[in-house]
């Protein structure tokens, strides 16, 4: 069955069909949850941020312009909610030193377990380093390489120029590279 277009769904919702929103939530819940998780490093925080993102999107749906891509609009809201959340959270606790347990609840026994453990460890290290990258660079790097957005789309989501988007991606990568070198130098 062909996917219902987002423009049609938005019109339906604005006309009072609240259930049509369920289709949009189902369609984008994983990408939004992942972006929030990669921005915060915490599944619990990601859950709250994702929920808030969808509620805010629903509340401001009348401002969504026909012809705009729904997912870039949703990403913009998610990034803003994440930034606000992190600002509030940074007053309460320091992110550095927090434990990131990505392997919890995953079955890592059986064939290939060692490889899986190694991959999990790498992913966990990378997630830890991502949290040390300044928010605006972190968001740009994730949108580019984790979510595969074009520089035009990133500039739209972050409200900056295409050149600015490229600069943020490059600086984010540079920061990750230097963090990786530091960690490599300190590891026994």
């Amino acid at each position: 069955m062909a996917e219902v277009s987002e423009g049609v769904l938005v019109e339906e919702i604005l006309a009072g069909n609240k259930d049509a929103y369920r289709i949009l939530v189902e369609r984008y819940k994983n990408v939004v949850f992942n972006l929030a998780y990669r921005m915060t490093g915490s599944p619990e925080d990601a859950l709250d941020i994702s929920q808030e993102t969808f509620i805010r999107a629903y509340q401001s749906l009348s401002r969504f312009r026909v012809g705009e891509k729904f997912f870039t609009w949703l990403y913009t809201i998610c990034i803003n909610v994440s930034k606000n959340f992190l600002r509030q959270k940074s007053r309460r606790l320091r992110l550095q030193g927090a434990v990131y347990e990505e392997t919890i609840g995953r079955d890592i026994s059986g064939p290939g377990a060692e490889e899986c453990l190694l991959k999990c460890e790498e992913a966990s290290q990378l997630q830890g380093m991502l949290l040390e990258v300044p928010e605006h660079y972190r968001a740009a790097v994730l949108l580019r390489y984790k979510d595969g957005l074009s520089y035009e789309e990133i500039s739209h989501v972050l409200g900056i120029t295409v050149s600015g988007a490229k600069m943020r991606v490059k600086r984010g990568l540079d920061k990750l590279r230097s963090l990786k070198q530091e960690k490599g130098a300190t590891e026994p």
């Binding site: 994983n30 992942n34 929920q51 629903y58 007053r91 992913a123 390489y145």
Partner: protein, 211 residues
């Protein structure tokens, strides 16, 4: 954006690290960046938790007409607060021009400023409402806005909760059931008449040292 950076990003996008290495053009840096890009692309995509969609759908507010919202605005009690803590310069300027003449006394301004620097306490509000479709919390801490704090329902027992960051102090509050019915907390610490025949619940938030 330096041309060199632009060139590196293009090479990373085209996945031509091998060519660059062969040509010896900043191969070491490019290889390290390429490794990071590969790791980022390989980050696992997690599934949103079970029941996520239902949770979002249950939290969506009712769409209300402009007229209904305007009527709400007129009916709602409003508290006007002055918070000048982060504009110390402005406070000083106001004091300098003799603000007493306008009835705002200096000691009052200082009290408000101090309060905004007070520690935040996370207060949990709980109410049992098994038949409710939506419960929100409104109080003088948020100008009685009923769409700001939405309670989450525990699946089994019809208990709704929300955690709200508050400065230590004394607050009046009410629960709003299904967007319409203002309900006094039956388990409140104390109550206070609102002047319209109803009672507001009252909570005292102690400072973290007292808690």
């Amino acid at each position: 954006m330096k041309p060199e950076d632009e060139r590196i990003l293009k090479m990373l996008d085209r996945d031509v690290v091998g060519e660059a290495e062969a040509a010896g053009e900043g191969a070491g840096e490019l290889a390290r960046l390429h490794e990071i890009v590969t790791e980022l692309r390989g980050l696992e995509t997690l599934e949103a938790p079970l029941g996520f969609t239902e949770r979002v759908m249950a939290s969506l507010p009712q769409r209300r007409s402009l007229w209904a919202r305007f009527k709400d605005f007129l009916m709602r009690p409003h508290v006007i607060k002055l918070n000048l803590a982060w504009e110390a310069g402005l406070v000083a300027a106001l004091l300098a021009v003799g603000i007493q003449g306008y009835g705002l006394h200096p000691h009052r301004v200082v009290a408000i400023a101090e309060r905004s620097f007070a520690p935040v306490v996370h207060a949990r509000f709980i109410v049992k409402a098994p038949k409710a479709r939506e419960v929100t919390l409104a109080g003088d801490f948020n100008n009685w806005r009923r769409d700001q704090y939405r309670l989450t329902r525990a699946e089994a027992d019809g208990v709704w909760t929300v955690t709200v960051p508050l400065h230590p102090g004394r607050y009046k509050y009410m629960f709003v059931v299904d967007g319409q019915k203002w309900q006094t907390d039956p388990l409140a610490e104390s109550y206070e008449h609102d002047g319209f025949g109803n009672e507001n619940a009252v909570v005292e938030i102690p400072s973290p040292e007292q808690a």
